[in-house]
Symmetry: C2
Subunit: 271 residues, 2 copies
């Protein structure tokens, strides 16, 4: 199964920029069912889905040996039969029900396929409305600004940081957490309580830019999300659809712009 997808990206280096094709990791929801009942929806990279289902059942304590497994199969999605995003594990004990308190939902907004997920987001989010325009120089400076403000990373090496910057590159709020999505929630919670003008800000994340990060930024109306690491296929698709600028591999004096480069001024980015 495919685990990477080719996307068109604006590669920026110093004062140069060009549109090239690049590989990004595929992220899609997988629903795992046990004896036909939904157990979990998780965002995953397609491939080895049966292993993933068995592993989750094992590590969540639902099965203890392979002898408990009867059959494993993909369930056809009636509307999109080409999709392999539902796996049903039939146990040897076909009557067994997994109690509802053990249901796992990785994210309440997950659908059963990328398309359903994107559609559900469209219902929740408005397209991004922002007049922010930022320079390359300002973007290149964000990683060091974030690092300088980050109190804990140097000590533990194990914590994510997320910062919200204004159009001039001033840091408005910084939060840290072992979980990337928690750090984003902390920043956005502080912004909401403090009445910050999020629609004119840039969010800089120390980790990768996956679906959940993009979704949270879109709900809040953040116009630009930049990451020092990679972006996922679903995050880029979502950002393209809803008008959010996404930037990855922001390191040194280069970056990849995955969506809506029009907010980046100066130097004439080739769109």
């Amino acid at each position: 199964m495919r685990d990477s997808s080719r996307v068109s990206v604006v590669k920026v280096e110093e004062t140069q920029s060009q549109r090239v094709d690049d590989d990004v990791v595929i992220e899609e929801p997988l629903e795992i069912r046990v004896n036909g009942d939904s157990l979990s929806v998780t965002m995953r990279t397609p491939g080895d889905d049966f292993d993933l289902a068995v592993g989750l059942l094992w590590t969540e304590g639902i099965i203890r040996s392979r002898d408990e497994i009867g059959t494993i199969a993909y369930c056809p999605d009636e509307e999109q039969p080409e999709l392999k995003n539902i796996v049903n594990v039939v146990l040897v004990d076909t009557t067994r029900k997994i109690e509802s308190s053990r249901r796992l939902w990785s994210n309440s907004s997950c659908g059963l396929c990328g398309k359903a997920t994107l559609e559900s987001i469209h219902q929740v989010c408005q397209p991004v409305a922002s007049s922010i325009v930022i320079s390359r120089e300002l973007l290149f400076s964000l990683p060091s600004r974030l690092r300088q403000a980050q109190a804990n990373f140097e000590r533990t090496g194990g914590i994510h940081a997320v910062g919200l910057f204004d159009e001039q590159g001033s840091l408005l709020v910084l939060r840290e957490d072992i979980g990337r999505h928690n750090a984003v929630d902390k920043v956005l919670g502080a912004a909401l309580v403090g009445g910050l003008p999020v629609s004119e800000t840039i969010m800089m994340v120390s980790g990768r830019l996956g679906f959940e990060i993009a979704q949270k930024a879109l709900v809040a109306g953040i116009p630009v999300v930049a990451s020092i690491s990679a972006a996922s296929s679903l995050a880029i698709e979502l950002a393209n659809d809803l008008g959010m600028t996404t930037i990855g591999f922001l390191r040194g004096r280069s970056m990849n712009v995955y969506s809506h480069p029009e907010r980046i001024a100066a130097g004439g980015i080739t769109a």
Copy 2:
């Protein structure tokens, strides 16, 4: 609030080793309640918990503005009143109930405090039983063995890899995924289906060694987990209690051993 914790660690460099104190990032569960009803339990780094609660409510679409928030407070845990691991957000609309389909459970094994979490794991997991003994040289070689076998990282730069190695350093199974916990589940699922002797293996993860990774490895009975990145306080505590060797910052010819160094032979590791 504290966000890092001091632990005793065996620092190994080349043929030297010494026991020193080191800072690790704190990971603890937080339960978020809305109008007194439990909404979510998430593993987080303590600090800015009210921001985290507000941000989660916002980014999950439960509130749309700060005007909907009435009060935010910690709920005392009757058994452990010093803990601040439950936050209750009372909305202006105090009668509002969040429908159960929107309940978020980050992990079904989470308790309401670190202690409860650890206790629930003790009920599920046996202490690790393994006779595996590994050399430093073998450990130092694992990151490059994993990288060489990893098909996708070089192309997308955005995918995690987890490998299971035997006592001689042979790769038994490798799986990749955008999610660290998915990659672990895929590896363990493949091991269970394939009947691999997991109790005599080393699991090498490309990302950080947090609670969920440690928990999954312990359920499966993996004796040694190594990471190129940091370990969390709760992962280390769990591993210490249940006899699993954990190794972090395995890079070049050095590493930190956080728990049970007795499985590492040769060179006389100072315990």
